[in-house]
């Protein structure tokens, strides 16, 4: 066993050198194949080590040099939830009540529901939802869908919404991102006020909102939800009319022009030529 591990380690070292040499020599193709070999070797090595572990009696103490850093100290403290992802996303979006990007959704969920999930999974979620809707429309109580760009009614990059929301709140004009940000700030502030002892994560999230709203942030860095709410509302009133006008217009257009599935997941501009025309039409 031990010598198998050693042979593997020697092989891995050789391969790493080889990969780097290929990369430095600008030979991408060779680097690719070598990387594949390397992965296999790595897995074999992992397996061999794991097996060796089992035969060992005492659990491994941390090596002399790794005394730096308690290895649990970061992020991993929050455990992952039992709920399916779509429902966690739903929880977060329902709290915010505005379209949001995966990063915000994840942060909110971690802050208020104490469970973390990777944003990459959230991104793929949209596709799954679209697939299931196309397969059997309206069979679920809600779908995680896209927010739509007002100009084109195309899916906004990485903005998720809930199918049951009114179309007005799901279309995005040029002021909507700001409006939705302020609205989200208000919702988060309310949530923090609701919960008796909010987690530090929640307060930190609220502080981040406050930092980007005039008159909301305490210099001291501590968060005061009522102040944040009123500050957000104050700026909100400035944008509200202009924004809702754009949104109403776009929402009507969407309801008029789009099929059910398109209303949830948007349409895409066809490649150039015709597309350019479409742009002109919009301008």
């Amino acid at each position: 066993m031990a010598d198998l591990i050693q042979t593997l380690e020697r092989r891995i070292d050789r391969l790493r050198v080889a990969v780097r040499e290929a990369v430095l020599a600008g030979d991408g193709t060779r680097a690719k194949t070598l990387r594949a070999e390397l992965r296999e070797a790595d897995q074999a090595w992992e397996a061999a080590l794991a097996e060796a572990e089992l035969n060992r009696t005492e659990p491994p103490g941390l090596s002399r040099e790794s005394q730096v850093g308690p290895d649990a100290g970061d992020g991993s403290s929050t455990q992952s939830s039992l709920l399916p992802l779509r429902e966690q996303v739903y929880e977060a979006l329902s709290l915010l009540q505005v379209p949001a990007a995966p990063r915000l959704i994840a942060t909110v969920h971690e802050a208020f529901f104490a469970t973390a999930f990777s944003t990459t999974r959230v991104t793929s979620l949209r596709r799954d939802e679209e697939r299931s809707f196309r397969a059997a429309p309206f069979t679920r109580p809600y779908y995680i869908c896209s927010a739509l760009i007002a100009d084109f009614l195309s899916p906004a990059r990485a903005l998720l919404a809930v199918s049951t929301w009114p179309m007005e709140s799901r279309v995005i004009g040029s002021l909507s991102p700001r409006v939705d940000f302020l609205t989200a700030a208000i919702r988060v502030a309310e949530a923090v006020e609701r919960i008796p002892g909010p987690m530090p994560a929640a307060r930190r999230l609220l502080w981040r909102f406050a930092a980007s709203i005039p008159g909301a942030a305490h210099s001291s860095g501590d968060v005061h939800p009522p102040t944040i709410r009123s500050a957000a509302e104050a700026e909100l009133t400035v944008h509200a009319d202009a924004d809702s006008r754009t949104r109403r217009e776009a929402a009507e257009r969407a309801r008029r022009q789009l099929s059910d599935v398109e209303q949830l997941f948007g349409i895409r501009l066809k490649p150039a030529g015709r597309a350019a025309g479409a742009v002109d039409g919009d301008a």
Partner: protein
């Protein structure tokens, strides 16, 4: 740069071996230096990845940050590093000395290159304002380390100082290679030129040393191909293991990451100690000890400053502090230039080449000549020096002879004599009180001698207003200084 150095580089290029451009070592080298080789994570302002540090070539201590973006681990690393570095520093500050005396010796940090020194400065800056209480408290030793590293980084700006020394800078100051200064920044390549492996030219050795796979860069930046092909998978493994909470896997992943980083540090460790050995073979310049003495003073007063609860170094200098520091730096710079030239004929040769200095032989000496124009007669010997070298100084200029620094020699006449030049000099000072010069104090006929316009005419330190007296032209008196505390919320590494 000078033609002399240019010629040395040409020689190096043509002979395939670095050429000496100094006859003595102009920097103090501690008997027990602390070698400090940091690596940092690419793309971050100052995220330590690993260091190899120690004062014993045989036993370097290696510290690793397995999750370089995690602030807790970053400051635990700082604490661990503090143990090593503060321990080393204390071994010099715990010696007992007379109240008005500096410590007999001072701790010297050696880093591979200027970037290593810059990292030292940033690490100091990022830790010296840390709070030791509250939500983001760090160990007491962390801000202390920060203040020491900041002290070393600031001291390095002083022209004559040797408390923190980048190795490539010293080597390049003593040897000319057959490559460009830009390429000299690579420690391995530089040493390749100076001491090529048997059967290899310096040029070949330097080229070989540019292969980042065989000769990892001396840090703090790591080689991108190492980052992408080696380090990234290692860090990913550590993260994965931590998430799954599999202790065995975590241990394996961490060991593997450390092993990988070790391969990037150890070659440089070897090079550093080879360079140290190499520099030790050169005798120290005459003024080096004197300069080291002022380093010891600087060290001593910083120890006192800390003991007396002084403030940490501010982010930037105030108006008065800046002006005062500039004045000090300029005086040190001038003194250093003079001392280096006096200590080292090769340095002086650069001035001889431009006519700011010349060497020749004394052909006449009226050593008992008196100047009787004043009320009292003064001893003012005249000598004539014959030189084949260019003399650019005009009559009236006061020259100095490095061998007789206390004696001023005013040019009376510069007269061409065939293709030689006769320089008549009037001497004053350094000959004793009497009207008869002390024996040997006046150069005798036949003596070979050199004179230069370089003089360390010591001016007393200029006076500056107190901080509270900062004039309106410079913004008026600044508010009372309170050391900033780093807003941890702001610096929390998201």
């Amino acid at each position: 740069m000078s033609l002399l150095t240019a010629l040395a580089r040409v020689l190096a290029a043509e002979t395939g071996r670095a050429q000496p451009i100094r006859t003595v070592r102009h920097v103090h080298l501690s008997g027990r230096p602390l070698v400090f080789i940091p690596l940092q994570l690419a793309g971050e302002a100052c995220a330590p990845l690993a260091v190899l540090v120690g004062d014993d070539p045989g036993r370097p201590a290696m510290l690793t940050v397995h999750e370089p973006r995690d602030r807790t681990q970053r400051f635990d690393f700082a604490a661990a590093l503090a143990e090593v570095i503060l321990g080393y520093i204390n071994s010099y500050s715990t010696v007992s000395t007379a109240p008005d005396q500096p410590y007999p010796d001072a701790p010297q940090l050696l880093v591979p290159n200027p970037q290593g020194a810059a990292f030292t400065r940033l690490l100091g800056r990022s830790t010296r304002f840390r709070r030791t209480d509250g939500e983001f408290a760090v160990k007491e030793s962390v801000p202390l380390l920060g203040r020491w590293l900041s002290f070393y980084a600031e001291r390095m700006e002083v022209p004559a100082a040797a408390l923190l020394v980048p190795m490539t800078t010293v080597l390049a100051d003593h040897w000319a290679t057959g490559q460009s200064a830009a390429e000299d920044a690579n420690l391995a390549a530089l040493l390749g030129w100076i001491v090529p492996p048997p059967g290899m030219t310096g040029a070949a050795a330097a080229r070989a040393a540019e292969d980042p796979v065989r000769f990892p860069p001396a840090g703090p930046a790591t080689d991108p191909s190492f980052d992408n092909e080696v380090l990234e998978p290692r860090i990913r493994a550590v993260r994965a293991a931590r998430v799954t909470g599999d202790g065995g896997a975590l241990h394996r992943a961490q060991t593997a990451m450390e092993a990988a980083l070790r391969t990037q540090l150890e070659p440089t460790w070897e090079l550093m100690w080879r360079a140290i050995g190499l520099l030790r073979t050169i005798d120290e310049g005459a003024h080096v000890a004197e300069r080291w003495q002022s380093d010891c003073w600087a060290f001593t007063s910083h120890v006192a400053h800390l003991r007396d609860g002084g403030f940490p170094q501010p982010r930037r200098d105030g108006a008065v502090a800046a002006a005062a520091r500039l004045a000090r730096l300029e005086r040190d710079q001038q003194r250093l230039n003079v001392q280096r030239a006096y200590d080292d004929p090769l340095v002086m040769a650069e001035y001889r080449l431009t006519g700011e200095a010349f060497a020749g032989t004394v052909t006449e000496a009226q050593s008992d000549r008196l100047d009787t124009t004043g009320k009292r007669a003064k001893l003012r010997p005249w000598i004539v020096v014959e030189t084949a070298e260019q003399v650019s100084a005009a009559p009236g200029t006061v020259l100095t002879c490095p061998a007789r620094p206390g004696q001023a020699a005013e040019i009376i006449e510069v007269a061409p004599a065939g293709d030689l030049t006769h320089v008549t000099l009037q001497l004053s000072g350094g000959m004793g009180r009497a009207l008869v010069p002390l024996p040997g104090s006046v150069p005798a006929a036949g003596e070979t001698i050199s004179y230069t316009t370089l003089r360390d005419d010591f001016q007393s330190a200029p006076r500056f207003p107190d901080r509270e007296q900062t004039p309106w032209t410079h913004g008026g008196p600044p508010p009372e200084y309170v050391p900033p505390v780093s807003e941890d919320e702001a610096e929390d590494i998201a």
